[in-house]
Assembly symmetry: C4
Homo-oligomer: 296 residues x 4
């Protein structure tokens, strides 16, 4: 028997919609592993096309995304690599000035915490945090690793570095307080169902992201369950920061903004809400009845 | 000349719909080979993201699937790895308590009978069977290997271990008695056409699984042939146990439940029916005329 | 300046629709490189699931395809591996008895002419030809290699072995006489646009094959060009020989059968027509004005 | 703060549509890395099927594309490999005679500037330029590398060889003058959103390319921004030069031709316009306010 979770998001909403906007960079001499090209390149060769394609994000894409959020006065969480702060600090400033959260996304997409030694992971956290703080004037309070690929140490190291939330979790529906930093550190799962990546992986037309969002919202609203729901909408500035993708993203933002059931929240706001009103259901931690969904 | 099969499923139905619900786990330190991520990981690195993503199944996904089946009072066959019984025995108990069949799915997704020596395969069958029986209180009577990848010995070893059916067959339309255990062992083919895997492999939106089901049902009902039909609907708790997938699965269950042409059966019930009323058409076994479809 | 081709197919039709039905097998101990499974197998391991999946074609799939063609009295070209004649001669007999063309498709899908030495290629042609003739009672007169992968010698060796056409060509719109066997050997290009393979490669729903056919037919009928058109419809007995695929194939056959613009022809009939009425436009051969399309 | 770009395309249009038509060839003994086949070939084997498939482009496909453009009196930029000029000079002549731009696309698809030494890259530019000039009678003034994969030297070497534009850029929305050849060399980004490659990579039906175009046009026309927009439509003669693809391409050309908001321009015309009326916004170059889009 599992008992249904009955807490609510701020403003007593049952549904939070969280916009995750990735502004990504790769280290010098490293290319993204994906690109729009069809003709394959011999193995081991640097893909300058993929580098140019990805560079669009911090040059033009990020501003189009800021525009789309701004036209609905919606706030989002921008996941920014440290290298972007180094190369295009203006992009970080523009995000902060528009009132959005800047969360850390490692130094670069090729610096993956899951592959680092503990000292290197500490240094990566320090360096990324400083770069983002210096560029944007605000210290990031949240972290999602590239491709959400943590090491087992990541949450502890982030908590020690003063972070309030991290998001390398795909195993639960809802966030919860994790047993770090005296239970003041929140794990926020990342839901990948509404995402621009299927455009790159499967050629899905951008309007399918809108459909995915609308279906998720319909499922949440129609659900017989009274549990709170979290819907993530994830975009990459170099993918759907381009005209067609951003257009359908804009429709999602507008749809969320006008829904009576939806609270639009940043991950930082989610973390604060969970700390103040919800509590923990982390693996190994005691699981309050109130957070369990009933099995009929 | 082939003569048409004319037997019927229980309740004189021409169509059986069988729900196969996979609750999967991987051995410690092994990650699934697929995940929702777009950015590739260097070869040989442990994909902690894929591990977290897959862990959703036995934590949240399985309960959502049980709910969807329960809301239509439909029974399904859950394919459960032994490692799930070890890690989350509550999930196995919940399946059994809701009245569903628990079938064995090897110890873990990375323990594939087709790759094991005979002694290791025997041990794997013993261990998996015990774990599932201990967790759920019921000894599994059926087996499908991870990715349906048997060794040539698998059916014989399963029959010797007291199993009544196995499902690593993709080469026929209909089940039949196989020549093991004095002809009391049934081979039930696995039809992959209605499945959540195309969401992971090709980015197909979840509603395409509903369309696939509706089309299969329409094809079955409209067919001029009078032969019985078997429609498999296969779901993974870590894939379509999430909100949107489960929603469309719920629509499939409801559609099957209200169709006059459909008997909803577990694989165990199918095996019992075949043993009692149909007989064998296995490779090499004599092929009764009644089971052959005519060629016009 | 290119002059438009103005010849017509039999019955003065502008469009031929050719049904290519592949009944495929692999050598003992060799598995197909594709299957419906999602979880990957370690490299170098024999994929028994893919073997079982592919075996469906000659067991159940081929009969469903014969039924669909038969219900419209349409004739097709079955591409059959020699190993099928060895293992399931009944399937070959059933094809011949239903009045279809049996064309050779090499001994097995893993015996690819493009990879064979000349003596091995000769032996492969002899063996495959004999097996199919022995099983079906009719000597095949046409050949398409597995995945249409010829060696440079293939057309000459086939012409010497008495074949009348081969189809390992994807570089032209229309067939033509090739300079072998005193200009009595026809090259018939294979058009891959209406095909069940996108179901396996991209998860395209079966009805997209119907749409692809309807669009190709519409394009052909609406074209301002007066040139003859060839539309290939290619199916694999282990892929769309299953219920849903065969259902949409049946709709294609019915659509072709009722179109006033369409002549349904086998490749053998196409070859005969080209030999009698058209002539050659092969690479290097003189190109008759009548076969060239004008450039406006 | 970024200030909105307010310049216009010729005829005071806000939107340019540019048709990029690739007529591609591979060196002798080299096969394309993609083909329509489903059954994989062993690694390291020459794929004669892919060679035959790709050869369609310069034999039949290019003429169908010329027809579709011609029926709307639209001009496009043909990206042609030098090897095509060697093998099928008639194709190059036909392009030029129909009034289109011939741009250089390297000697062959497997000769990728990003992988060449400086001397080899110089030779490749010379050889390709001469071949195209000899075949078509017009010296190419623009260059896009195979898969847009430049070396860091490519723009400088092209400028020195007298080229006026190059297009291996995917990082910006709009073209700009680059700091080569006394600021007379234009970088024109390549937008990949309207493209036939998703047909090969993802099995997207050809009509999705039409939808992609219509959506891009709608996005451009509806945009609140007053900035100029560039829409690329990219086709390969061996892919959508076939009947169904060309049919939907024809619908795109017709749609663009009748839109009041659209100027149809070749890349050469775009370069001339940018040189005459716009100026530079290249990386490192001073960025005129007029070219910056405002951030609201």
């Amino acid at each position: 028997m599992r008992t249904e979770v009955t807490w609510r998001w701020p403003k007593s909403k049952r549904v939070v919609v969280c916009f995750n906007l990735c502004v990504e960079g790769w280290s010098d001499g490293v290319a993204p592993g994906i690109s729009p090209m069809g003709n394959p390149l011999p193995a081991g060769v640097l893909d300058s096309t993929a580098i140019s394609w990805a560079a669009y994000g911090a040059k033009d894409g990020v501003y189009r995304i800021i525009d789309e959020l701004g036209s609905q006065k919606a706030k989002g969480t921008f996941l920014v690599n440290g290298v972007i702060a180094e190369r295009q600090p203006d992009a970080v400033k523009a995000i902060v000035e528009a009132g959005h959260e800047v969360a850390a996304h490692s130094f670069a997409m090729d610096v993956i915490p899951g592959l680092l030694s503990e000292p290197d992971e500490r240094k990566n956290i320090e360096r990324t945090t400083s770069l983002l703080e210096n560029a944007g004037g605000v210290r990031p309070r949240g972290w999602i690793s590239p491709r959400a690929t943590s090491s087992p140490l990541t949450p502890r190291l982030l908590a020690e570095a003063g972070y309030k939330w991290y998001g390398d979790l795909l195993d639960r529906d809802l966030p919860s307080v994790l047993p770090y930093a005296n239970n003041t550190f929140v794990g926020i799962p990342l839901h990948t169902d509404v995402n621009d990546m299927p455009f790159m992986k499967y050629g899905n037309p951008p309007k399918l992201m809108l459909e995915a969002f609308e279906e998720n919202l319909e499922v949440a609203v129609r659900s017989k369950s009274r549990a709170p729901v979290m819907i993530d909408v994830t975009l990459h500035a170099h993918i759907f920061g381009r005209p067609r993708g951003a257009y359908f993203f804009g429709k999602i933002v507008a749809r969320a903004a006008k829904s009576r059931d939806v609270w639009i929240g940043t991950r930082e706001q989610i973390a604060e809400h969970v700390l103040a009103h919800v509590g923990g259901m982390a693996e190994g931690a005691p699981r309050p009845r109130a957070q369990l969904r009933s099995v009929r």
